[in-house]
Amino acid sequence: MSKPGMLIEANAGCGKTYSLANRVIGWMVAHLRAVGDAGATGILAATFTRKAAGEIQERILSHLAEGAADPALLEGFQDSIGVDPPARCEELQQVLEEFVRVLDRLQISTLDGIFHRLAKAFPDDVGLPEGWTIADRPALERLQREAIDAWLSRCDDDELQALAMEAEGEILKGSPHGSMIGTLWGTAGGGLLSLWRASQHFDGSAPAWDWLESCSDDDISPTAAWQTSEALAAAINALGRADLPPNKDGSEPKVWVNARDRVVSQALESNWRDVLEDTLVVAVVNGAKFSSKNAPSDFEAALQPIVSHARADLMRRARLRVRVWSNLLRTLDDQYRRHQRSTGQYDYADITDQLVQADLLSEVGGDVLAWRLDSTIRDLALDEFQDTSVPQWKVIEPVIEEIFAGEGAHETPRHLLVVADPKQSIYAWRGGTPDVLRSVKQAGGEQLETGELARSYRSAPEIMAFVNEAFGTIDTNAALDGAADKHPAVPDEVMQRAGLPKVNPGGPVAEVRSGWHCPAHASARTELAGDVAAWLSPKDDDAHLEYVADIIEDRAAVGAGVGVLCPTNGQVADLSHELRMRGVAVSEEGAGGAASIPAVAAMLDVLRFASHPGDRAAAFRVSHSPLGPMIGLHPLETIAKKERDATLERISLGIRSRIAKEGLSETLATLVRQSGDSCDARGQFSLRLVADRAAEWEEGGPRDTMDFVRTIEQTGFGAPSDAAVRIMTQHKAKGLEFDEVVLPWLDRPMAKARQMPCFPFSGDPLEPPLAMAPEVSQKQRVHAPVLEAFQNQSWAAGLADSLSLLYVSITRPRTGLHLVFRPSDKDPQEQLTSATFLRAAIDDLNRNFSKAVDEIDTRPKEPFWTRSGGAFQTSGGGEASQAAESVSLVRIRVSDVPTVLAPSSHEQTGSIADRWPLLPGRARRDGVILHELFRLVRWLDDGPVDDAAIERAFDEAALQLGRPVGSDLRAALQTRFMESLGGPVGAALRREMHAAWKVETLEAIPEHPILVQTETGVIRGRIDRLVLGKDSSGAVVRAAILDFKTGHAETEAELQAAREWYQPQLDRYAEGVAAIYGLPLESIDTGLLFVG
């Protein structure tokens, strides 16, 4: 490879992963040749999903193994490995050996994963607090709410009043938290706050937000000017009296009269927004006819000052909105960061932002990087590069620049590989932009080689031909032309007046078209016979669902692996349900609809009710579900009113107690198991998923159960399985392939501008936006035409996304593509949908469509158009879903493992404070020490204990206490010890005590460990003092077990209580001693000695 950089633009299915894996292998072989090792840890390979990253790694591993084992296979790889002379099996073996040895240090991951690691390695440089983590969504939402609250708390009364007065209706929509969180943070990223961050320059300024302020009113809205109230009154008056264009009979047209009166009253009420939006006003301003008549000039003249004034008001509102938002975003961003810092909770996008701000990779040298990460970044392979966001690009840019600058190359040259398919860029809403490719080209210049992959190893020639037809004619597509007419470019002079650069004169459609290159697709799978079929389904929604289900059922019956790709999660759920009802096994891979599965909804209701016993809606539903009896809840209506609340409170408490004791997942698992008989397959399957989710969720430690409910509600889940029919969203299908693909919904509008309170206008997508404008209605934009340019950019981004999504969808199949069309009154020029786009692209498809629509009632159920005309064949690659082999149930016999009993096991009542008192430290210490001292005594009759032993006892006590026993304490306790030896305790330590045994010898064993197996289990422990009485043969015939107890038993009652408490323990010991020495229990005495 001569140049350090390589940029490959690839069509779908052309083996991107394959090429990338082999290219990386090539780098390792080259490294091996140059310096003797493969340098695997110096390669960073990044892609967009964890799954794709895993696939790259797996592919490298398997190609290495295949190439190492089989020269023939290696031969096939040589081209893409790209080293000269060609790689040899032995070299691959060597590389493989090294590669598997450093599996844990490889850097093949998502960009998020790589950034996470960087931030962990450099928290101080990145400015993250100690202990930071990636938080889950409920936690982040809490943080967001708190940030909003903190921001609100900082506002003083006046500010709040101003905010409410000026902006209540505009931004808060009545709910300080709910709608604001959505607007600011977006549901999955992409909220206003990320726009705010994107609009900040390095110095922290955000000039885009000042753009509106820097323009004069009439730069934006021509003729906008406040009128004096007199002038206004006069104008309104004049308008009321102005002549209207007469009817033929000379009378005033009713429509005009009404419209004029409406405008007059709106103006009188100072309702300027309505004035501007009024259809009459819009028509007059545009110089267009209203109700097929032009306005007379007086009328126009009278209207003029009113419109000027209303436009000035529009500008006032527009400025206000931008100002309110920018102030809010500035303080809120700050507040949110503070909150994140203080709790240490972040999401991946925040980490990327922090890395951008720290400019980490240019600040930190390669050596430091290598040291902290235990791996270097020498070579870079970036897959799915079109989905990279600008901030992500900014983080890695320094490395790429270094590679091109030849920096850091010691023994071997460095490499960059970028693989992208701009046509598959479907993450614009998350900030992904194919424009980053331009940056790579700029950075690389001469150093960058480019290549294309156009041959598909996935799809049959017919499929590729269809893709070419559909997307190769994008420049002349009539449906796009129609959209272009509706979205004209904003004229240069309008842009210029507002201080903004010119836009593409062809408007947003031309913009999108110019960014769309569709190199011809070819197929390497010429052995496959493919088919593309267009179907016409009924207009009615239910009938449509059935029609689609028929097609799928039919294809599944043939044995094809079918991917059904839907625009939304709701459709995934609906269609899955429909098919299941017909007994077709499906893998539902949506993300929503958890709550639409009745069994799951009921389970969530149980948890809602557990948290909120007053949630009688949940309680009612649960009480009527199979879960009701399981938690002891009778049908709500049967509970007497006066007992109702108390009953609900009690049952709810019961569930919470169970969760507290057993954990959420176990509680749910039990309920799931018990309710298994009560629901259909989908319900059972989903319930198990809920229980599994709970197990995963619990890993994060105990939290509010309602957070779990929210997590399930928000993320939802499908019911993935290994069925041959897989139903998912189009977004999810990226990176997958199927034998056949069904696209059941092609009639959604292809582009919509996003709903946002403010829109950016960018000169260059890679730079911060130039200007921010408020969202205003289309009718008001007539009065401020430059705002259309903002709208157009947002609309164009949506269009580009939709085209990509369509492209992704039709390039998934290996052999069969089924397009389901529905009758529509609109012709392709009218409305832009995937359906009209395809019809406009392919003439005979469109013709057949029209014919089919005419004959819809009489048509047989067959495609109205096909690409090959042949019968569908299956690739044979995807087996039809086989019935799962019958599995033998496992049986585990419960083994009769003896119960191990610790002798202190008790079950008893008593107050916690009594049972677990906090003794004064001193008393506890004294007890331990005395205990040790008494253990020294074998027989008091044998004379005093020797001093060395006493010292050891003190040491022993010190070990137990974790503190030294000072000399004063020693002296004091030794005295106490000696004194008490004179008392009853002392008496117990004399042989005399056991005289009644009448045995030959007595043996005292202090601190005797026992371990013994008895009939009731294993007994282990330590006996403070064991006395054995032996007969003349030396056999043990009697025994005494004495336990030293700290403290005093002052009264007989106390003594009695203590005996009761400790007796079970002593009995267990006795049982043990009996087993060891083969004694009957009657021969064993037990007793307590209170040692003060």
């Binding site: 607090p129 609100l152 049967t638 599995v887 083994s895 070990l959």
Partner: protein, 908 residues
């Protein structure tokens, strides 16, 4: 035996390690029918192994008199043999000392250490203290202090963050000083000193036997010293000397270099399709082990699950297939009910907010306590209180609920947590906490074993806290966080044998002795245990300092795997092909210990195209039989609904959704959702406006003449609003509500102008918030509609105005955003969808007020001030008669018992 050194002792392969060890110990210590191991220390690395060894010893000494050995873990040896010179600081005391010094860091040092100079939050300072404590413990195990890190690294030529370590060393120093000032010794420092001075208390020990493939430096040093004193110290090696000799160091630990390379022979690996499916593969094995259908004894097999995320699904799968599981360890005390209680208390102490109490009250022990106190329906009452008052800080809570029913629940709760509100010396927190625990958990029920274990452990922590030397006052949230941190280290359940299938962790696996062992989790990232990125001690530094690094772990795990494979048992290895999200997972590199072609083949056998894609999946094992679904999202109540009255506002719900009407209005059900929000919901916001306007209206009604001055009206209305806020939200209003209050004020100002114009036009208020309803609360008799056989009609009429010429108007305040007029709200082209205003007329008629057909309307108080106005409906008598007939029909459906049927039909 080489005198003065740890001796390695090979116990051979093809045998189980603990069996061999038990036999070895028994044989060597047997004398005349007595096996006395009382002076033998056996150190085993896990908590499970000692139990196993004991059982084996019992087995080996069945006919002897056994005195068991002293069983220790490597970590507890030092505590067993070092006599303290000063009081050893408890873990808690040293955590506290770390926290203290961390909080004293100045700005510059914070910047060097953390990269920012902002004041540290509670969370961050605890996290930092925690990390420092951990790092210094790790270093101590390597026989080092933070002060030595820089020089050691420099000696070995490894880069090191000099500035950072200077600060850490300083902090460490300060921490020890802080302990010393309290008369305490840092445990690690005390141990080190004792070792340096050879002060070991060994009189009760004759022999130390350990099993450790990787002795940490400090332990190694101590063991050598002990050996030096003539005590036998041996490290058991599982394997043959002839086989392993070169790769095992003389002290019995693994040679890292050798074991990072050592080939491992592996016959077969089972590859499960996804992580969870490893359970299925294991179950397949279990089933295959007992082909006669007899089943297999739990003692015969052991399941090794190193990946903790698999434990949950395993529990579920085992439950589903009726496989009994032995209780396994996992949960720590912080997850127990007591631990959870402490966490909730800490949150209360930290935030001092009502929302923290809201979580506390849901703790089952707290709810039960309240119930025992005689508080009825505590949580229901609390939630209802929340909805109206949206309380902020605890401080205002009592004030807000004073005199309301909610005070019954609020007061005890506030009282309970009151002791948390002021700082006190650390030791004093023990008493406070014990008191709280006693109060809440003492329920007079018998104390179960589980509770006993929980409180035993808790008591240990409290005792440590209690014995903390006197010192400065500490905030509750700090004290409780420290307590929490101790609880996190204590296992919640002790080993309880149930006789089910035993599930064990990786380190226990090679010590285990079941004839069959199934090892799951052999994927990269699970085994060997991953080493995360560490900004302070990157791997290179760890290696230089003798801390466990990635190679050391890999060497150890390689050794463990190999000894397991050579133990003569039936060992099944299982790895997964993919994670649960479909992400391919590479096999553990331990499975790939081969070279050349053999390696390539092994790789391909696991991930190659011919490797099976889907060895039995868990989903397939869990048989699912499609049954009728008995879950009904819209259940119908049994029996006859009880609805005795209808409110004028409920008719719209009936028309829109009879089912929702049924379950909301049936007195037996009264379905309603409960959510806790931090702002008023739409209804709450409406009520705030209503209440203020009601109060204003009553004042206005008392005046002789209607006020026509807009400003005056505005100020009166705002005054009323202020009053409402004071009584409902207290002196500190939650931020979200504060903004809503500002909105309300803004709307009232707009309304004031409309009202002034109206007053000027001759309208005056006739009635305010007139209520028709149950006699107890109502302002007038309760009318029955449409006739005697009908139902009571309930309603509150916001306002009735009167005008000399136009007569009466009945008005309803509407605060909705859209500012829709009455006609739009009440009618569609298909007919009536709301009947509220027409029924106002019916209500008023019952007290003799005749409202003309054009006298019904809304007072619109929307956000947009220009839309604020009074919107009168343009209905005719005919319209209204039609509406009344419609209402009468609805009432008939309800009163004649046809509601169920209508509701059911609406669900179709």
């Amino acid at each position: 035996m080489i005198h003065g050194m740890i001796e390695r002792r090979f116990l051979g392969s093809n045998t189980h390690l603990l069996h061999a060890l038990a036999k070895d110990l028994a044989d060597r210590h047997r004398a005349g029918g007595v096996v006395d191991l009382s002076r033998t220390v056996v150190m085993l690395p896990t908590s499970r192994a000692p139990r196993c060894l004991e059982m084996r010893l019992l087995h080996e000494t069945a006919s002897d008199l056994l005195t068991p050995p002293i069983l220790l873990t490597p970590a507890s040896l030092l505590d067993h043999i070092i006599v303290p010179r000063r009081t050893i600081a408890s873990r808690l005391a040293s955590d506290m000392a770390w926290l203290d010094v961390v909080r004293m860091l100045d700005e510059t040092d914070r910047r060097t250490l953390l990269g920012h100079s902002d004041p540290m939050s509670v969370a961050e300072s605890h996290a930092l203290g925690n990390r420092l404590a951990g790092v210094s413990r790790d270093l101590a195990a390597a026989f080092m202090t933070p002060a030595e890190v820089v020089s050691r690294c420099e000696e070995r030529g490894v880069p090191v963050d000099t500035a950072r370590w200077a600060i850490i060393a300083g902090l460490h120093e300060a921490m020890m000083e802080s302990l010393a000032a309290q008369g305490l010794d840092d445990r690690d420092a005390a141990h080190r000193q004792a070792i340096d001075e050879s002060r070991l208390h060994l009189h009760a020990i004759d022999q130390i036997t350990t099993i450790s493939a990787d002795l940490p430096p400090r332990l190694r040093r101590v063991l050598n010293m002990i050996a030096d004193q003539g005590i036998r110290v041996e490290n058991i090696v599982h394997g043959e000397k002839s086989d392993l000799g070169d790769t095992i160091l003389p002290d019995g630990t693994v040679d890292i270099d050798a074991w990072c390379e050592q080939a491992i022979d592996i016959d077969h690996v089972d590859v499960a399709a996804q992580t969870k499916d490893q359970i299925a593969v294991a179950f397949e094995h279990l089933a295959a082990m007992a082909p006669d259908g007899e089943g297999i004894g739990a003692r015969e097999v052991r399941l090794v699950v190193p990946d903790e995320t698999l434990l949950g699904p395993l529990r579920g799968a085992a439950m589903a297939e009726g496989v009994p599981l032995e209780h396994f360890e996992g949960d720590t005390l912080d997850q127990s009910p007591v631990g959870r209680f402490v966490v909730l208390l800490r949150d209360v102490a930290e935030s001092e907010s009502a929302s923290a109490l809201s979580a506390l009250i849901r703790h089952p022990a707290v709810t039960s306590w309240l119930l025992r106190q005689g508080v009825s329906d505590p949580v229901i009452t609390w939630d209802a209180m929340w909805r109206t008052h949206v309380p902020g800080p605890i401080a205002c809570l009592t004030e807000i609920v004073q005199g309301t029913g909610a005070s019954a629940v609020v007061e005890p709760l506030v009282h309970l947590t009151d002791p948390l509100m002021q700082p006190r010396p650390l030791a004093d927190w023990a008493g406070v906490l014990l008191q709280l625990l006693t109060k809440v958990f003492d329920d007079g029920e018998p104390i179960t074993d589980a509770t006993t274990r929980m409180f035993d452990a808790m008591h240990g922590v409290l005792t440590e806290l209690h014995e903390h030397p006197p010192g400065e006052a500490v905030a509750a949230c700090d004290a409780l966080t420290l307590v929490m941190r101790q609880l996190e280290t204590i296992a919640a359940t002790q080993h309880v044998k149930t006789g089910g299938l035993d599930v064990i962790g990786w380190l226990d696996a090679h010590l285990d002795d079941a004839p069959h062992i199934i090892v799951t989790g052999l994927n990269e990232g699970t085994i060997p245990a991953p080493v995360g990125v560490d900004a302070w001690l990157p791997d290179a530094n760890r290696r230089a300092l003798g801390l466990p690094d990635r190679r050391a772990r890999e060497a150890r795990d390689a050794f463990l795997l190999r000894s397991m494979l050579q133990s003569g048992r039936d060992v099944r290895l299982v790895c997964a092909r993919k994670a649960s999200d479909g992400e391919p997972l590479p096999p553990s590199r331990l499975l790939l210990r081969a070279s050349g072609r053999a390696l390539a083949e092994r790789v391909l056998s696991i991930i190659g195209p011919s490797a099976s894609e889907g060895v039995s999946t868990l989903a397939a094992r869990r048989t699912i039989v499609d049954r009728d679904c008995l879950f009904d999202p819209y259940p119908l109540p049994s029996g006859d609904p009880i609805i005795r009255s209808m409110s004028v506002t409920s008719f719209s719900l009936f028309i829109k959704d009879p089912y929702a009407f049924l379950i909301e209005r049936d007195a037996r059900i009264k379905a309603q959702d409960v959510k806790l929000e931090y702002q008023l919901d739409a209804m709450g916001f409406g009520n705030m406006l209503h209440d203020s306007l009601e109060q204003w209206g009553r004042e206005e009604l008392d005046r002789d003449a209607p006020t026509t001055d807009a400003e005056r009206i505005a100020s009166d209305m705002c005054h009323a609003l202020d009053h409402h806020i004071k009584t409902t939200f207290g002196s500190i209003v939650a931020p979200g509500v504060r903004l809503q209050v500002a909105m309300a004020r803004h709307r009232l100002a707009a309304l004031a102008r409309v009202q002034a114009a109206r007053a000027s036009a001759g309208w005056r208020i006739h009635q305010i918030e007139h209520f028709f309803g149950p006699p107890k609360f109502a302002d007038s008799p309760w009318p029955i509609f449409p006739d005697d056989k009908g139902l009571y009609l309930t309603g509150r009429i916001d306002r009735v105005d009167v005008h000399e010429t136009h007569g009466y108007q009945a008005l309803d305040y509407k605060s909705g955003r859209k500012a829709e007029g009455p006609d739009k709200v009440h009618r569609t082209k298909n007919g009536w969808k709301d009947l509220q205003l027409p029924l106002y007329r019916v209500l008023l008629r019952s007290i003799g007020i005749e409202v003309p057909s054009h006298g019904l309307g809304y007072v619109l108080v929307p956000p947009q001030e220009s839309l604020c106005r009074i919107a009168i409906a343009r209905w005719t008598e005919t319209d209204l008669n039609e509406a009344e007939a419609e209402a009468a029909e609805i009432v008939r459906i309800v009163s004649q018992g046809r509601l169920l049927e209508v509701a059911e039909a609406s669900l179709e």
